[in-house]
C-alpha cells in the first residue's frame, strides 16, 4: 500500500497546459471535454431551432430561402443527435463508469482520446456543409432533413458530401467510444462487483454501447453508397439504373430506430440512479429493469420500418413491424412502472435532479402513448410526416434524453466540482425549462393532426395561432439554457463545499463506490481496487 501512495504522489497529478487536454488519457478530463463539447453544440443546435421557430412564427417566408430553412432543420437534428446527446452521454459514461465499478480509468485510454478528438473534426465538417452553399460554385444547401433520403440527396450540392463525411467521422468516434465502454464494464469491475450489483447506469450504457456497435456501421455503409451514387456512377438508390430509393430508407432506419434507444438508454440509467436517491429507497425491480432493457434492445433492432409505413410495403412486413412496435410498450411500460414504484412509499425530497426525474417520467409516458398511436398502421397513414410526429419525438427525446442529461449534470456536479450548485437557481431553471418545453411542443400535436406537414418553410394561416404559441414557447425554452450555462459556470467557480456524498440517499440499494471518493475525486479514481461486499 505505502509504495502505491508514494507512487501516486510522485508524478500523478494532471499535466500542465494545453497538453493536459490534447493528449489526455484520463477518463475524467476526457469526460469533461465531452461534456463541454456537448454543451457548446447544444447552443449551436439550439440556435438553428430558434431560427426554425422564428421562421414559423407566422405564415409567409420571412428570413431566408426555403433551402436554408431545411438546411437548418437538417443541422438541428444532426447536431442534437450526434453532437449533443451522444457526446454528453459518452461524457457521463467516461466520468462515472470507472468510479462506479471501482476502476482506475477506462480500459482503453488512448482510444478514448481518439474517440473524443474525432468529434471537433466532425463538427467542423458539419459547419462547413452549411457554409459551402454560400460560396461561389458551392451548389445547393442540404435540404433533405437528417434522413438524407435519395433521390433528393443526390441532387444536393457538395454540402451533402461534407454531411456524409461528418456522419462517417461521427460513426467511427461513437463505435470506438462504445467499444471502450463495453470493454471497461466487462473487464474492469472491482472484486465483488458482479454484473448484477452494478449501478443501473452501467447496465444502460452496456446496452447502449452494444447497440451502437451493431448499428453505426450500417449507417456508414448507407451513406457511403449514397456517396458512390453521387460521384462514381453507381445506382444503388437510382431506379433508372436498377437501384431502389427505398433501400436507403431501410438502411437508414435500421440504424435510425435503435439510435433512438442509444439516445434514451443512458438517461434511463441516470433516472435509475436519481429516483432511488431522492426517494430514499432501493430501485424497484432491478432485475426487471435489466430484463426490460434487454428486451428493448432486441425489439428495437427489428422494428425499424415503422418509420416507413407509407412506402407501400406488403401487408405481411407491415403487420410484423406494427406488432413489434406495439410490443415495445412492454419494456418501456416496465421501466416507467419501476420508476413510479420506486417513488411509491418512498420518503421523497425534491432537489433539482428529482424534479427533472419526476417530470421526465410523466412526459416520457406521454411520448409513449402517442408512440402507440403512431405504431398503429392505419392511423399512421394519416399522421405520417405531419407535425404530430415532430411533437411525438420531441416529447420522447427531450425528456427522454436531453432532460435526463441535464438532471444528471445537477446530480453529479457536486461530485465533479466539489461544490454544490445553487439550488434556488436550479429550481427556477427546472420550472422555466419544463413549462416552456410543453408550451412549445404540446400544440404541435394538434396542428399536426389538423394537417400541417413537417419540413415546410411556410404554411396556411389555419395553423397560424398554434404555431405562434409554439414559437413563443420555443424562444423561452431556448433562453432557459443560458441559465443552465450560468449555473454550471457558477458551480465550477466555487460555492458551498459538497461532501463526498452530497445526497443523503445516494448509496441506498447500490454499492455507490463513486460516493466513497472525495469530491472532486482524485485524478486517478481507484489505484487499488475497492472490495464490494
Amino acid at each position: 500500500m505505502s509504495t502505491d501512495i508514494a507512487h501516486e504522489e510522485h508524478h500523478h497529478g494532471p499535466p500542465k497546459g494545453i497538453g493536459r487536454w490534447l493528449f489526455s488519457t484520463n477518463h475524467k478530463d476526457i469526460g469533461t471535454m465531452y461534456l463541454v463539447f456537448a454543451l457548446t453544440m447544444l447552443f449551436v443546435g439550439g440556435a438553428s431551432a430558434m431560427y426554425i421557430r422564428a421562421e414559423l412564427f407566422m405564415p409567409g417566408v420571412q428570413f431566408m430561402e426555403p433551402d436554408f430553412y431545411n438546411n437548418m432543420v437538417t443541422n438541428h437534428a444532426l447536431i442534437m443527435v450526434f453532437a449533443v446527446v451522444m457526446p454528453a452521454a459518452a461524457g457521463l459514461a467516461n466520468w462515472m463508469i470507472p468510479m462506479m465499478i471501482g476502476a482506475p480509468d477506462m480500459a482503453l485510454p488512448r482510444l478514448n482520446n481518439l474517440s473524443f478528438w474525432l468529434l471537433p473534426a466532425a463538427a467542423v465538417m458539419l459547419i462547413l456543409s452549411t457554409v459551402v452553399p454560400f460560396l461561389p460554385g458551392g451548389g445547393s444547401a442540404i435540404n433533405t432533413g437528417w434522413t438524407l433520403y435519395p433521390p433528393l440527396s443526390i441532387q444536393t450540392g457538395m454540402a451533402m458530401d461534407f454531411a456524409i463525411f461528418t456522419v462517417h467521422i461521427l460513426g467511427v468516434s461513437s463505435i470506438l467510444a462504445s467499444i471502450n465502454i463495453v470493454v471497461t464494464i466487462l473487464n474492469m469491475r472491482a472484486p465483488g462487483m458482479t454484473l448484477f450489483k452494478m449501478p443501473m447506469f452501467c447496465w444502460a450504457w452496456l446496452f447502449t454501447g452494444l447497440l451502437l456497435i451493431i448499428i453505426a456501421p450500417v449507417l456508414a455503409g448507407g451513406v457511403t453508397m449514397l456517396l458512390f451514387d453521387r460521384h462514381f456512377g453507381t445506382s444503388f438508390f437510382d431506379a433508372a439504373g436498377g437501384g431502389d430509393p427505398v433501400l436507403f430508407q431501410h438502411l437508414f432506419w435500421f440504424f435510425g430506430h435503435p439510435e433512438v434507444y442509444v439516445l434514451l438508454l443512458p438517461s434511463i440509467g441516470v433516472l435509475a440512479m436519481i429516483i432511488p436517491t431522492f426517494a430514499r429507497k432501493p430501485l424497484f425491480g432491478y432485475n426487471s429493469l435489466v430484463g426490460g432493457m434487454a428486451i428493448l434492445f432486441t425489439l428495437g433492432l427489428v422494428a425499424w420500418a415503422h418509420h416507413q409505413y407509407t412506402v407501400g410495403m406488403a401487408a405481411g412486413p407491415t403487420t410484423w413491424f406494427m406488432i413489434i412496435t406495439i410490443l415495445i410498450s412492454i419494456p418501456v411500460g416496465l421501466m416507467l412502472l419501476n420508476f413510479m414504484m420506486t417513488m411509491w412509499r418512498g420518503a421523497m425530497t425534491f432537489e433539482t435532479p428529482m424534479l427533472f426525474a419526476v417530470a421526465i417520467v410523466l412526459m416520457f409516458s406521454f411520448a409513449g402513448v402517442t408512440g402507440i398511436m403512431l405504431a398503429v398502421v392505419p392511423a399512421d397513414l394519416e399522421y405520417h410526416d405531419s407535425m404530430f410526429v415532430v411533437a411525438h419525438f420531441h416529447y420522447a427525446l427531450i425528456p427522454g434524453a436531453l432532460m435526463g442529461l441535464l438532471a444528471a449534470a445537477f446530480y453529479w456536479l457536486p461530485k465533479w466540482t466539489g461544490n454544490m450548485y445553487d439550488e434556488r437557481l436550479g429550481k427556477i431553471f427546472f420550472w422555466w425549462n419544463v413549462i416552456s418545453f410543453n408550451i412549445t411542443f404540446f400544440p404541435q400535436h394538434f396542428y399536426g393532426l389538423a394537417g400541417m406537414p413537417r419540413r415546410i418553410v411556410d404554411y396556411n394561416p389555419a395553423f397560424a395561432d398554434l404555431n405562434m404559441i409554439s414559437s413563443l414557447g420555443a424562444f423561452a425554452y431556448g433562453l432557459s439554457h443560458l441559465l443552465f450555462l450560468y449555473i454550471v459556470i457558477k458551480t465550477v467557480r466555487g460555492g458551498v463545499k459538497a461532501g463526498n456524498k452530497p445526497w443523503e440517499g445516494a448509496q441506498i440499494g447500490t454499492p455507490g463506490l463513486e460516493w466513497d471518493l472525495s469530491s472532486p475525486p482524485p485524478f486517478h479514481s481507484f489505484t487499488t481496487p475497492p472490495v464490494v461486499k
Partner: protein, 374 residues
C-alpha cells in the same frame, strides 16, 4: 381515501365525456372530418387509440401525483425499504407486461379490420387516376379517358388569404360515390399526395407505382399538400380536389376530351406561328411549368437553379436549347419535358425564353422544329 376515489372516478368520467363528445371529433385541432369510408375507419381507430392514450396518461398522472403528495420526507413519511420485496414487487415484472399486452392486443384488434381493407389486394374500382409528383407541381392522368391535367400553386395569394398555399390553378376533378383507384409515382424525388379527408398517405417513389383508393361521399372541395420532403418547393405544392356529381363529371370529361383533341390538332398543324402568338402562349406556359425554379424574372435562384436571363443556353444554339427542354439535364433538377408538353407548348416556351428579359435573340421556334428534335 374515499374522497380520492371519488375524484378519480370524476376525472375518468370527465375524460370519457370529453373524448366521446362531438366537440373533440369535429375540432379544428383534430384530424379533419372524413369524406371517404376508409378514412372514416382510420378516423375511428384514431379516436379509440387517443382515448386509450388519454386514459393511460390519467392513470399514470394520478399515481404519480398521489405519491408526490403523500410520500414526502417533509411530511414525515418513512420510506418502505422492503416495498420491492412485497408480493407486488416480486410479481410486477410479470403482471405489468401482461396488462400492457392486454392493452396492446385491444389496440391491434381495433386496427385489424382497417388493415384488411387497406391491404386488400384486389379492390374494386370504377376508374383510375394516375398522380405524378414533380418538383413542384402535380400532374394527373385519367387512365380511362386519357385526360391530362397539371396543377400548380396559385401564386397570387398572400399569407392573409384563407387558402394561402392551399390553392391551385387547376384542381383535380373527381366524381362522388365512385370507387377510384389512385396510382402514385414521380418524375424526380419522393413526394406524397396527402388530402387527409379523402385518402390516406402513400409515398410517390421513382421507379415504383404505389396505390391508394378513394370513394368520395360528399360533393365539395378538399385541400391538402405534399407531405414528403421534396426540396426547395416542398411547402409550395398544394393539392385541391373538387368532387362533383357523376353527371357533372361526365359532362366535364366530354369537354376535356374535345378540348384535348383540338389542342393536339393545333399543335400538329402545319401553321406558321407568329412571334406574338408564340410569345404570349410561351409566357402562359412558362408561368405554369418553369416558374417554380427559373423564377418569373428568369433569374433563377443563385447557386440552386440557373438563370435563363442572358444565359448561354437561352441565347446560343436553338437546337441545344430544344434538346435541354425535351430531355432534361441528368443529375440536376431539370426534368425531361417531352412527355408532358406537346410540340407547340415547347416551341412557345422556347420562343418566350429566347425573347423575354432582354434575351432579344429574335428567334421564332416553330412546333415542327421541336418535332424534328424529338
Amino acid at each position: 381515501m374515499k374522497s380520492i376515489k371519488n375524484k378519480i372516478a370524476g376525472l375518468a368520467g370527465m375524460a370519457g365525456l370529453l373524448l366521446s363528445s362531438e366537440v373533440i371529433a369535429k375540432s379544428k385541432y383534430n384530424l379533419p372530418e372524413p369524406a371517404d369510408p376508409i378514412v372514416q375507419q382510420i378516423f375511428d381507430v384514431h379516436m379509440v387509440t387517443s382515448a386509450i392514450a388519454t386514459i393511460i396518461m390519467i392513470i399514470v398522472t394520478l399515481i404519480i401525483v398521489y405519491s408526490l403528495i403523500v410520500h414526502r420526507k417533509d411530511k414525515g413519511y418513512v420510506a418502505d425499504q422492503n416495498f420491492h420485496k412485497s408480493w407486488f414487487g416480486r410479481w410486477a415484472w410479470l403482471l405489468v407486461p401482461l396488462i400492457v399486452l392486454g392493452i396492446d392486443f385491444s389496440i391491434a384488434k381495433t386496427a385489424h379490420k382497417t388493415m384488411e381493407t387497406i391491404y386488400d389486394e384486389h379492390p374494386e374500382s370504377d376508374m383510375t387516376v394516375k398522380i405524378i409528383g414533380s418538383q413542384w407541381k402535380w400532374s394527373y392522368e385519367y387512365m380511362d379517358s386519357g385526360i391530362k391535367l397539371t396543377s400548380n400553386l396559385n401564386r397570387d395569394l398572400t399569407p392573409k388569404d384563407e387558402f394561402y398555399l392551399r390553392d391551385v390553378d387547376q384542381p383535380l376533378i373527381l366524381p362522388v360515390n365512385t370507387k377510384i383507384r389512385l396510382l402514385h409515382t414521380t418524375t424526380d424525388v419522393l413526394h406524397n399526395w396527402w388530402v387527409p379527408q379523402i385518402a390516406y398517405k402513400v409515398d410517390a417513389i421513382p421507379g415504383y407505382i404505389t396505390e391508394t383508393r378513394t370513394e368520395i361521399l360528399k360533393e365539395g372541395t378538399y385541400r391538402g399538400q405534399c407531405a414528403e420532403n421534396c426540396g426547395t418547393g416542398h411547402a409550395f405544392m398544394p393539392i385541391v380536389v373538387k368532387a362533383v356529381s357523376k353527371d357533372e363529371f361526365a359532362k366535364w370529361q366530354e369537354e376535356q376530351v374535345a378540348a384535348a383533341a383540338a389542342a393536339a390538332a393545333e399543335a400538329s398543324s402545319d401553321k406558321e406561328w407568329t412571334m406574338e402568338e408564340l410569345f404570349a402562349k410561351g409566357k402562359e406556359h412558362y408561368n405554369k411549368t418553369c416558374v417554380a425554379c427559373h423564377q418569373a424574372n428568369g433569374e433563377g435562384v443563385p447557386g440552386v437553379f440557373p438563370a435563363l436571363k442572358g444565359s448561354a443556353k437561352a441565347t446560343g444554339d436553338v437546337k441545344v436549347h430544344i434538346q435541354t427542354v425535351l430531355n432534361g439535364v441528368s443529375g440536376t433538377a431539370m426534368a425531361a419535358w417531352k412527355d408532358q408538353l406537346n410540340d407547340l407548348e415547347i416551341a412557345a416556351i422556347i420562343t418566350y425564353e429566347r425573347n423575354a428579359w432582354g434575351n432579344n435573340t429574335g428567334d421564332v421556334v416553330q412546333p415542327k422544329q421541336v418535332a424534328a428534335e424529338r
